[in-house]
Amino acid sequence: MSSTVTLSCLRKIYDGNHVVKGIDLAVAGGEFVSLLGASGCGKTTVLRLVAGLETPDEGSIDVGERCVCDAALGTWVPPEDRRIGMVFQSYAVWPHMSVLDNVAYPLRVRGERRPERRARAGEVLALVGLGDLGARRPAQLSGGQQQRVALARGLIMEPDVLLLDEPLSNLDAKLRIRMRRDIRRIQQETGFTVIYVTHDQDEALEISDRLVIMDAGEILALGTPAEVRDHPFLSTT
């Protein structure tokens, strides 16, 4: 249940601006890779390209053995069919559903029966530490709790790949540290592939197997935390 993710010559242009300038990246199955960079460096765009929420102008993306998108061949798998989970920066928890229904939604989409999906949602909520809040409405939760709901919703579909877009940036410092350890723990227990976008270098250095440092739509450096720790880009930001 973990897949490789391979990006080849990926390019994205908005109104003449090259936001992503021909990126190549191979993520191994079960690996935790962070995209690190200042805002506007193109890291979120790369993530949205993998998700399928954006279409590349050039290049291709393979998830496992499957090509989900190839600009040259016109291959295109819509995001809902990619079996990729995503946790958004703004959480995107649906205000009109209870916490449990939010988490169970991917199973509902798959057509699983109500009792099964509710039981499973309860388990996943327990995993992220929200076991007793299933009946609540999202508006009654704190930011950190909503973030956990979003994470649980990404986990429940047991995706091949989970994409996380600055999931901790709206939380306070203490909670951020606790949450990133939780995310890492859950990832190691379940073993799916993670691509994680952040602008916080401490976060990236602690949580990742490998880091990708990005600037102006290009990859500046790529390596394990030990390898990139002394990169000049990190000390200046």
Binding site: P79, E80, D81, M86, A92, Y105, V109
Partner: protein, 527 residues
């Protein structure tokens, strides 16, 4: 899905609302256009329409502008209650106002003339007609100007005051220029609405031999052999009036922005007492009296005798008449149908315009609003022209359903569009990443999230469809009646009591719907 949705929406909007108008232009502007337009009677109708529209617009601007300023910028007591009371005429169809004022100021037996002396007031006159229409349409001005004042910073006026300007100079030099764009916009709307009104001009103008374009059009349709072509030619003239609101879109002031932190208040001082007296007298005359005149006539055995003994519910027995029950059912059914179809089509148009990047989405949204700004007579004639061959829908409920949907779909689209605008796309993206396809996202995410706006849009279409008269009179064939056309016949041929009963029913339903609308939309829509 978005591609298919776009072409379906575009095709429906064009077929339902645009093709009929194109047919009118085609048919009307053909041979003989000059003959019809240069005809003596047409010319006098054109002049009468212009005079009536100008007079009504002037009066509505005066009433609406004054009340907007008084309720937003002065210490007038009871401002909040007045805001609601003064907008009540907004939801009352003009022909019902006309019926009310006939009860009040009919020269022989009008209730006011009974008090003042026979023939003192005559509603069957140019002045009477102007008065009734201005009372129906001044809320356009009031609401628009009030919104403009609400959004403009009172500090602008404070600054003028600190520069030594007195109340009148502040009003003239600062407040009035700030209100000017709103006055121009709403004045254009009143002008158009007056020119396209049919019910009130027909009820009040005919006895005084005042012929306007809309009544001429209706006469040509019913009397002449070559009526449809003649009516189309006249309709092109009326079409011209619909362009007026577009032409008077005045320059906007860039400073009108940002919510006012605190209302700046002009102290009325010594003028307080006369102003209060004037405002409440107006409420009494313009809102309370007409309502009493309608309900009074409906609930009392003898009109004008408001004693307890004279109270009765017998008049409501007319509702048991078969033809009236049928008309009520037809109206309810048509209004429910039109509101439902309009919400689906309008919702699709709004969704495409706001949540997709499809080419031409703004155009479709814009086209859907054209019939709303077009006089009902013109649209109705276009529908008759269009739905004759190869599909003949004339004199059926279907052509009426199409008419209501065409005319009011923009109201639903606007309401749903506003709702959609407040919802972040990421909520839909999250559903996509959960594996949900297009229809599932629509059903489980978008529709539940914009449901309040959908319900609001539904009622915004239901209310005017239920009480619609102008198009219904043209489209409803023999044996087919709506509550509006039935009431029309009762008023013309049977007298005020039965008509007032139906007017009471319409008023009751419209007011109830309005309250529901207000509750559902948490005060965003409705008065």
């Amino acid at each position: 899905m978005s591609r298919l949705g776009f072409w379906v929406a575009a095709a429906l909007v064009v077929i339902v609302g645009i093709l009929p108008l194109a047919r009118v232009a085609w048919e009307g502007a053909g041979d003989g256009w000059w003959d019809v337009v240069l005809d003596e009677e047409s010319r006098s109708a054109l002049v009468a329409t212009l005079k009536l529209a100008l007079a009504t617009t002037a009066l509505a601007l005066l009433i609406g502008g004054a009340f907007a300023w008084l309720s937003m910028r002065t210490d007038l007591p009871g401002r909040r209650v007045l805001r609601t009371l003064l907008t009540v005429p907004y939801i009352v169809p003009p022909y019902i106002s006309a019926v009310a004022w006939i009860n009040l100021a009919n020269p022989q037996v009008g209730l006011l003339n009974v008090l003042l002396g026979e023939g003192v007031l005559n509603v069957y006159s140019f002045g009477g007609l102007t008065w009734v229409l201005a009372l129906s349409f001044y809320p356009y001005v009031l609401l628009t100007v009030r919104a403009a004042l609400e959004n403009s910073d009172p500090a602008l006026e404070d600054a003028a005051r600190m520069s030594g300007a007195g109340t009148w100079r502040v009003f003239r030099d600062v407040s009035l220029p700030l209100m000017r764009p709103a006055l121009a916009t709403s004045g254009g709307l009143v002008f158009m609405a007056t020119a396209s009104a049919y019910g009130a001009p027909a009820l009040l103008g005919a006895p005084a031999r005042i012929d306007v374009l809309s009544t001429r059009i209706y006469e040509s349709l019913t009397s002449d052999l070559d009526g449809l072509r003649q009516a189309s030619a006249l309709a092109t003239l009326l079409f011209g009036f619909a362009l007026v609101p577009l032409l008077v879109r005045a320059r906007r002031h860039a400073v009108v922005s940002g919510k006012a932190s605190r209302p700046s208040v002009v102290r009325l001082g010594r003028a307080r007492f006369p102003v209060v007296l004037g405002v409440w007298s107006f409420v009494l005359i313009a809102v309370v009296l007409p309502a009493l005149a309608v309900c009074g006539t409906a609930f009392f055995r003898i009109a004008g005798d408001f004693s307890f003994d004279n109270l009765t519910s017998e008049n409501f027995n007319v509702l048991q008449r078969r033809e009236i029950r049928d008309a009520l059912l037809t109206s309810v059914g048509l209004a429910v149908g039109a509101a439902t179809v309009a919400v689906v089509l309008g919702g699709l148009v709004a969704f495409l315009a706001i949540k997709t990047r499809h080419r031409g989405r703004g155009l479709v949204f814009g086209l859907s609003a054209i019939p709303l700004a077009t006089p009902g007579t013109v649209l109705a004639i276009g529908l008759i022209l269009l739905w004759t061959r190869p599909i003949d829908l004339r004199n059926t409920v279907w052509i009426m359903l199409i008419a209501y949907v065409a005319k009011y779909v923009a109201l639903a689209a606007r309401a749903i569009g506003e709702g959609l605008g407040t919802i972040d796309d990421v909520l839909s993206d999250a559903a996509r990443m959960s594996g949900a396809g297009g229809w599932l996202r629509l059903r489980t995410i978008w529709v539940p999230l914009v449901l309040p706006s959908i319900v609001a849009g539904w009622f915004l279409v239901f209310m005017p469809s239920f009480s619609e008269l102008t198009m219904s009179l043209i489209l409803a064939g023999p044996g087919l009646d709506t509550i509006g056309t039935r009431m029309w016949e009762l008023q013309e041929y049977e007298g005020p009591t039965a008509a007032s009963v139906l007017a009471t029913v319409v008023l009751g339903l419209v007011i109830t719907s309005n309250i529901v609308l207000r509750v559902v939309s948490r005060g965003r829509y409705g008065i």
